[in-house]
């Protein structure tokens, strides 16, 4: 990441050659494999803190992959600053949206668990037959309708 292409931009506005393409491929592959390893570890982790840490790491790797695809495969890094800004700055709106909506969803859950005893109790009913739908007996199982 510390490589700067400032010198190359002047004569080649489309980034490096096939060498850079394959370098990016290997980076993406390694990031994906690490992501999958973390995903496997996550299966065996049941503590809230540990799961949160692993999920955070997976999200960071996801964003790193997104950066490499956009910067090197889509050559956005080799475009001029004006183009980079006109694409990236509006997307900052999504940062607000993620925080605001996920917070809202969480507080909706908390409020409902506090004030709506019916919903709260319903969400504790065990699913008795996991394949009930397949057997056409979905009526015997508590499959929620749209909540």
């Amino acid at each position: 990441m510390e490589h700067t292409h400032a010198g190359e931009i002047a004569h080649d506005s489309h980034g490096g050659g096939t060498k850079e393409i394959w370098r990016t491929f290997w980076i993406l592959l390694v990031l994906t494999i690490v992501e999958l390893i973390l995903g496997y570890i996550l299966i065996g982790v049941h503590g809230t803190g540990g799961r949160l840490a692993l999920k955070g790491a997976i999200i960071i790797l996801m964003l790193a992959k997104a950066f490499y695809i956009v910067a090197y495969f889509m050559h956005l890094k080799s475009e001029i600053r004006n183009l980079i800004m006109t694409i990236i700055v509006p997307l900052a709106l999504l940062i607000w949206a993620i925080i605001a909506f996920l917070y809202d969803g969480n507080s909706f859950k908390d409020n409902r668990n506090t004030y709506d005893a019916y919903k709260r109790d319903r969400s504790h009913i065990q699913s008795t037959d996991t394949k009930a739908d397949e057997k056409g007996k979905s009526g015997e199982k508590r499959t929620g309708a749209m909540e």
């Binding site: 889509m74 499959t143 929620g144």
Partner: protein, 226 residues
């Protein structure tokens, strides 16, 4: 049309040239992809919101645990989806190689790499078709969810509704990308770009194809890993 060489003291906003230093079509492709990322962003954020508002959620490792040719009781989480992810990354590489060959006006290489990219896209779509079919046989569909929550409680249909809607919308993008790439292949083979004198159209198709790969990075993480 021509993108000019960049000097450090260029006055981009003085008029007479594109302040973004790209041709019109490429700029508009970027804006389209930006708007499309808002569409996918809205989908994934609503999925996250509903998941955050639910007391329970199905365990993806229990739901996505099979692969073609596997028996009934197989438990192989993440195996099949990692193959799908690899296919899409690979096809992104062949696409960027096709764009690179286009810059060198190497018609033969453009055609070869585009063909590989189309093959990768079709392979991905086949994988997705198999997975949808498999889940449908397990009883999952829009409005139907046979999978209980991770803690054993009965699940709502939110999980399947979001899964089929978002992966379906992504699959539709892959399909469109394959169609666009086939058109590019035909145009390259019939010397359309040679007559134009440049292969810039491939670059725009490439941007779209990489975006499809980019979205899969997010969809894959949100549905299969988290």
């Amino acid at each position: 049309m021509e993108t000019t060489a960049v000097a450090a003291d260029t006055k981009w906003w003085n008029g007479g040239k594109s302040p973004f230093n790209v041709e019109y079509g490429k700029l508009m492709m970027w804006y389209f992809l930006m708007s499309d990322s808002f569409t996918f962003g809205a989908f994934l954020i609503s999925y996250g919101t509903v998941r955050f508002s639910s007391n329970g959620w199905p365990n993806p490792n229990e739901v996505f645990r099979s692969y073609p040719g596997a028996g009934e009781g197989v438990h192989a989480p993440l195996v099949f989806v990692s193959i799908m992810t690899f296919i899409l990354i690979m096809s992104s590489v062949t696409m960027v190689l096709a764009v690179h060959a286009g810059h060198e006006r190497n018609k033969k290489a453009v055609i070869t790499y585009l063909a590989w990219t189309i093959l990768g896209g079709l392979a991905f779509l086949s994988c997705q078709a198999w997975e949808w079919n498999h889940l449908h046989h397990e009883g999952a569909w829009w409005g139907r969810n046979p999978f209980p929550n991770a803690d054993g409680t009965g699940a709502s249909t939110n999980f399947t509704n979001f899964f089929f809607t978002i992966t379906g919308f992504h699959g539709f993008h892959v399909f469109s990308g394959v169609v666009i790439n086939i058109i590019m292949l035909i145009m390259a083979a019939t010397d359309t770009f040679e007559k134009k004198g440049h292969y810039l159209m491939i670059e725009k198709a490439g941007l779209y194809w990489h975006f499809v790969d980019l979205v899969w990075v997010f969809v894959f993480t949100c549905f299969y890993l988290l």
